[in-house]
């Protein structure tokens, strides 16, 4: 049967992997290519590499890192950050990435999803979204509003509505990165993960808040997610991918 995927996320700034809480207090964690290789060797199912400063610095993504990661791992990986056009997507895919991830760009210009899906196939187009919990149920029926630009901007868009629309436009996969849970290591926001997973017919990836293996099991069983992103819990060395897999219960995994 289809297995649940565990996907390490590498946030890259100046060719180094960094990790902060809610995009603040970034600390240096290592070389992205070495870390990608280590997680690959340890059995991760996929990888995500974000060039987290490309957009802010108004420059295209660092294609050298994409090419270097592609040389050392033999599993699919997605790349995001600094993607602003179909040309950027093509460069990333030709460098060896399997998927490109768009977030703020898709909110500003949703047709990038349909254009990308038409040019490269839906399976290449990942929509990242950063929903934040809200009490304003009149405006946001799901109880979550989409934010962009590293959680700084509120968009006025309902999270589930946006997920449905993006899937309809051709997004092949949706990463639900909860603003409230991000960096807390207290578990994924299962509520919004499940709402979106149940609303769309494309795979949903839980993101933000992974701190221990049971959180990933919960993302599968209670969050209805197809995959989960891990970052801090493995980057600090507290857990390895193989230990996470060994400790997860009731979830089909690639061994």
């Amino acid at each position: 049967m289809l297995t649940f995927r565990i996907i390490p996320c590498l946030d890259v700034r100046n060719r180094r992997v960094t990790k902060g809480v809610k995009f603040q207090n970034n600390v240096d964690l290592g070389d992205p290519v070495e870390m990608a290789l280590r997680y690959y060797e340890d059995g991760c199912d996929e990888l995500v590499v974000y060039d987290i400063t490309a957009s802010a610095e108004h420059r295209p993504i660092d294609i050298g890192i994409v090419a270097d990661v592609a040389k050392v791992v033999r599993i699919p990986f997605a790349v995001g950050g600094g993607i602003s056009s179909l040309d950027d997507m093509q460069r990333v895919l030709l460098a060896g990435a399997e998927k490109v991830s768009v977030n703020s760009l898709a909110v500003a210009n949703p047709s990038i999803i349909s254009d990308g899906a038409r040019a490269f196939g839906s399976q290449c187009i990942v929509l990242g979204m950063d929903p934040v919990r809200t009490d304003d149920l009149a405006r946001f029926p799901s109880g979550y509003e989409i934010t962009t630009r590293g959680f700084r901007l509120r968009t006025g868009m309902d999270a589930v509505e946006w997920a449905r629309r993006a899937a309809g436009l051709g997004a092949g996969e949706i990463v639900v990165n909860s603003v409230d849970a991000d960096g807390t290591r207290a578990g994924f926001d299962l509520d919004i993960t499940r709402r979106i997973a149940d609303a769309v017919n494309v795979p949903v990836i839980a993101s933000g808040g992974a701190g221990k293996p049971s959180h990933l099991s919960d993302a599968y069983s209670a969050g209805h997610a197809d995959a989960a992103i891990v970052a801090g819990m493995i980057h600090t060395g507290e857990y390895t991918i193989s230990r996470i897999k060994a400790e997860m219960r009731g979830v089909p995994l690639r061994r």
């Binding site: 289809l2 297995t3 895919l93 795979p203």
Partner: protein, 211 residues
């Protein structure tokens, strides 16, 4: 020379990098002459069957592929490259394909109502026969899949592995003579996929006798 057939159907970088990771060298080519003179051929591809068939015909690659296969050249089709070896595909309302392998390609029909299409991610391949390309690989190993259609070979004896997606068991790879066709992406399937690619690069194109 190892030829990777380029017919504008998706991204060939990961296939080329996987071959290079094994210390081999491949030529990414659209030239029928390269296909006919290659020692072995990799036929990848992602995308729609009708567009792919149009491109193959316009480049003269359809006949080059038939020629190379009838010459006994070891040949592996991957994903779309596996599917269009069959006679027809249900994609795009029905399209005639290369007709080299007996059978057709149909849309996935998983039994579980919540199952998503495409079938994307890692799933197990259960062995149905012995074959040199499976040397050193454990029965039931996981491979990486991304597809909405599946191969439906006419002959059960051609089935190399099957995979269960949400209650639908389908042929995830096929082997017949000098042809291997895999629905899964061996170039993205970690060490297991790399082992299968390495086995293919060492293969003489003959099915081993039954043990």
């Amino acid at each position: 020379m190892i030829a990777i057939i380029d017919y504008k159907a998706g991204n060939l970088t990961s296939v080329r990098l996987a071959v290079e990771a094994l210390g081999a060298c491949a030529r990414v080519t659209s030239a029928p002459g390269d296909i006919l003179s290659a020692e072995r051929i990799i036929f990848p591809g992602v995308g729609a069957a009708a567009a792919a068939m149009g491109t193959l015909a316009s480049l003269g690659l359809d006949n080059a592929i038939r020629g190379a296969i009838s010459n006994g050249t070891p040949f592996i089709g991957i994903c779309l490259g596996a599917q269009i070896l069959f006679e027809r595909s249900a994609e795009d309302g029905g399209v005639g394909t290369l007709g080299i392998l007996p059978g057709e390609v149909v849309r996935l029909a998983p039994r579980e109502p919540r199952a998503k299409i495409p079938h994307m991610g890692w799933n197990q391949a259960d062995f149905h026969k012995a074959h040199p390309v499976l040397d050193g690989i454990r029965d039931g190993s996981d491979f990486y899949f991304v597809h909405s259609y599946r191969m439906a070979p006419a002959r059960n004896g051609d089935i190399l592995t099957t995979t269960d997606y949400a209650g639908e068991v389908f042929a995830s790879s096929v082997a017949r003579g000098n042809i291997v066709a895999t629905q899964f992406h061996i170039e993205k399937s970690g060490k297991t996929g790399l082992r299968m690619l390495s086995n293919f690069l060492a293969w003489d194109g003959k099915e081993s006798p039954k043990c």
